[in-house]
């Protein structure tokens, strides 16, 4: 499962019930890109 990153303090965050950064309380989180390689069609 891919993790999230807080938009304010940039800490790595795990989401459980609340969508909120446990370090700074900010509620905007970015989903981090997975490690896998992605193939897309150029259309």
């Amino acid at each position: 499962m891919s993790g999230y990153k807080c938009a304010r303090c940039k800490q790595k965050v795990e989401i459980d019930i609340n969508v909120r950064c446990p370090y700074c309380g900010h509620r905007i989180l970015f989903k981090e890109r997975g490690a896998g390689i992605k193939t897309v069609k150029a259309r």
Partner: protein, 273 residues
């Protein structure tokens, strides 16, 4: 049938197709647009992308970059001996690796085969801020505009019928028509207006000159605009992937092959009956 070029460069051509019919002219235009194959990026393998553009958008922009194409070097994937898996005969591979801050351009696409590089290196792909990174591999293949517009080798490709300007004996050389003409096709001579040498091809048949002339009634108009349905003025522009001459030659050969196969089918049907 005859073709007379008034302009022929590697990326633009203007010519008159004469002794023809509208059906052929339109077939020729449609074949040049949709049946001439060229290289374009189809599959993009993204290793890393934390730019502002999401993967699909980035891939779409890469697909639209015109690539230099040597039709004798590549063949369609469906016709390749590899069975469509992708090999050096049907596929061209590119790599892109860039880290911000910078503007990633088509010149950053490194082609495995330099003969299949992007036509120009100045096409912007994505703008990267500090810490943003794009690492990808792109696979280009041959196909036609019938499948997707990114495989269309012509940009502007169209025709108009050849204009015919008839100036009657009742022209009083008032010059209203010459003043009205937006393309500056007409000039005032001593006793009447006349078409400037070599400018007839520029006439857009807007009939503004006719309207200026008929101030005293339609029957009295001294200038009449009509078109010759056996002559067509073509303008063909290439995106740079193929020279215009090659596009035209390929399209005409393709049309001939299709006509021949149609004749064969009709012959077989009539033979069966």
């Amino acid at each position: 049938m005859d073709i007379a070029f008034s302009r022929l460069e590697s990326e633009v051509a203007k010519f008159v197709l004469s002794e023809s019919i509208p059906a052929f002219a339109n077939s020729f235009r449609r074949t040049m647009i949709s049946d001439v194959p060229k290289l374009a990026i189809e599959d993009v393998i993204i290793y890393d992308n934390n730019s502002a553009l999401f993967d699909e958008m980035l891939a779409h922009r890469l697909g639209l970059i015109p690539l230099k194409t040597n039709l004798s070097e590549y063949k369609k994937k469906s016709e390749c001996s590899c069975g469509g898996e992708g090999c050096s005969l049907c596929e061209s591979v590119y790599t892109l690796s860039a880290e911000g801050p910078c503007l990633v351009k088509s010149s950053d696409l490194i082609a495995q085969n330099p003969d299949a590089a992007p036509v120009t290196g100045e096409i912007p792909i994505v703008k990267l801020e500090k810490g943003q990174k794009v690492v990808l591999e792109a696979h280009a293949e041959i196909n036609t505009g019938l499948e997707h517009a990114k495989w269309q080798s012509t940009l502007a490709c169209g025709y108009k019928t050849y204009p015919v300007i008839t100036i009657g004996d009742n022209c009083d050389a008032c010059g209203h028509c010459a003043d009205e003409c937006a393309r500056h096709v007409l000039k005032l001579a001593k006793k009447s207006v006349e078409v400037i040498d070599g400018k007839l091809i520029d006439c857009s048949m807007c009939k503004l000159c006719e309207k200026a002339c008929v101030g005293s009634g339609w029957e009295d108009a001294a200038i009449r605009i009509s078109s010759d349905n056996t002559k067509f003025v073509f303008v063909v522009e290439s995106d740079g992937s193929l020279p215009v001459k090659e596009i035209m030659t390929y399209a005409l050969t393709d049309l001939k092959d299709k006509s021949d196969s149609l004749v064969d089918v009709l012959t077989n049907i009539s033979g069966a009956l």
